[in-house]
Symmetry: C2
Subunit: 354 residues, 2 copies
């Protein structure tokens, strides 16, 4: 099934035929204290508000409003969260929505599952998480429950500094992928990320490749553990990993635990990530020996009258909150690229009051 | 509106006319370490499993199954949770369901809001909760959100040892209500409860009546704080407090914070609580100067072939998980008393495999 607005890689046309019915969007939410390192992430309205990013994303996607902090005035120059794209798609289609707390500082005013109870520590400690196995076990049950109510899953994430932890686990498993993960910042702070990860690996005493659980425990984040458990529990339905280099890292982690041939799994992201010259989504999958279909939603905000949305065309943000994957799934259901772009423009115009 | 199977008190016929439309059931879940005091509660399959009572109730109501612990074999003598009645009503009607964690040890495998993060301490410490105001503030937002999607609310609870903490806050506010709260045990352990509460009051240094916030902080539980916030936030819609003496205590607490005349609020419970000679629901409301309508669902399991259900007729359990209130609301919508009783019998027969 080939649809305008989607690019297909690695046999994704065949996978796309499995995407039928209503489908479910799952947002994995988490925090890592790594996000407090200055300059590492653009997520969040301000550094102090970074921990609010996941709950506000969930509230925006589910209700169209920000409930936890009250209404935040936005200027037309403010670059919006990719959750705005996800919200637009949700209003255009009929996805069931599920929200999963994998380890958050602040709970969203949205009903959610809870598979972890603490944010990840700064990975420079080398001891990011002590509850990886517990998160996976609980997330398995949640995945099975959601799958029992779903034709297929689209799994997105909201965790600030997640591309840094993604780099962390890839290096911990022995891959040499410096410069391969994406960033929400226009200028990808690769050297900062690398130094953060290397400090963490050193503190963790990792000098040889380690297994995926140890990698997450040392320099990962709770979202990864939640994703792995969720996928293992939802094995019986097709799964779209909705994200860029973070979800590629999840795929690599997962492939070290189970044989992906037993799963119906693909990765879908935005064209902005796929085209990102500072990162290499396909390189991660190839070096990680992960052979799964990939699709991109080739959205463009070039027609926007707002600086905040035009910024996406200049390399800001790129992906997050499952924006690319849910857009792909919606387009496979018949929603057009232009409908998504126009709805984003409309919702954003309301947010900035213009 | 007078319906067979419901008893009306204090002008409840008029309140019942306001109950129109689909309506929403809200389950407030919480834990208090007070439940670990031997002999104080019958909730839970065994003392070690007492903390599992609220998540398992939520899972039973929402999915008809127990997910967190896997399938638990029940003998036909096992006295089932009142959540079984709530589940039966949910299958017979069209209530929206919402679950709210006010402070739990274990999260349910059911999507839920989260307004508190820690269980209450044993009230014998005199310092049961330190986050009462935070719970209320967050619960207000959740209440407003739920009310915006609801014609009316039915608010139930699942917290083991909740009748002891109810007694605690009533005494702390200066009421002399020993022997007025109900119990899940056939023989109400009034003297144990009183001694637990008195120890807590002494440790808290309470010798004069205190305000409701201080009462909850000293000898209350997180469910109470969640209920108060939820009601304050949902002020614009009719509210049924679905419970017995615990919800009566919530009504007394609330009446010390706001004028209840500004609310459309009633209490609804089971006939088993109303007829309980060891407690006095109406006495609590009267002594507490709370003038609200009361309804009871006059269910009977006398026709059951199972010992576990017949036990309800002998004074076991009586109420919980909003069973009485949701039954009243369903009967106001046209579900009959017999349909509820027969559905409980059917679900229970499946649970015990007969």
């Amino acid at each position: 099934m080939v649809v305008d607005g989607i690019s297909y890689y690695n046999g994704a046309e065949k996978f796309a035929e499995k995407i039928k019915g209503r489908g479910s969007f799952v947002l994995l939410m988490g925090n890592t204290d790594t996000a407090f390192i200055p300059g590492i992430t653009a997520a969040g309205i301000s550094p102090e508000l970074t921990p609010y990013t996941p709950p506000l994303d969930a509230e925006l996607v589910e209700t169209g409003r920000i409930l936890t902090l009250g209404d935040i005035p936005l200027t037309p120059e403010a670059i919006p969260t990719p959750g705005l794209i996800t919200r637009a798609v949700v209003t255009l289609s009929d996805f069931r929505r599920y929200y999963v707390d994998t380890g958050m500082s602040i709970s969203p005013i949205v009903p959610h599952y809870r598979v972890g109870s603490v944010p990840g520590k700064d990975i420079r400690t080398g001891h990011a998480l002590s509850n990886v196995k517990e998160i996976i076990e609980t997330a398995k049950k949640v995945g099975a429950q959601i799958a029992s109510e779903s034709e297929y899953l689209v799994i997105g994430e909201s965790i600030a500094a997640g591309t840094t932890t993604a780099l962390g686990v890839l290096l911990a498993m022995g891959h040499t992928m410096d410069g391969f993960t994406s960033s929400s910042l226009q200028v990808n702070p690769q050297s900062l990320k690398s130094s953060v990860v290397l400090e963490g690996l050193k503190k963790a005493g990792i000098t040889q490749p380690v297994d995926p659980i140890r990698a997450i425990e040392s320099v990962g984040d709770p979202m990864m553990a939640g994703a792995i458990g969720l996928i293992l529990g939802a094995k019986n339905v097709p799964i779209i990993l909705a994200g860029g280099t973070q979800m590629a890292a999840v795929a690599v982690l997962l492939s070290r635990i189970v044989d992906l041939k037993g799963f119906n799994i693909a990765l879908a992201t935005t064209g902005w990530v796929a085209k990102d010259s500072s990162a290499n989504l396909f390189g991660i999958l190839k070096q990680g020996n992960v052979d799964i279909p990939v699709m991109t939603a080739d959205l463009s905000f070039a027609r926007s009258k707002f600086e905040g949305l035009l910024a996406y065309e200049k390399g800001h943000v790129k992906e997050g909150v499952g924006a690319g994957g849910i857009s792909v799934a919606a387009m496979l259901k018949g929603v057009t690229k232009e409908q998504i772009e126009d709805t984003v423009e409309f919702i954003y115009s309301k947010m900035v009051g213009q």
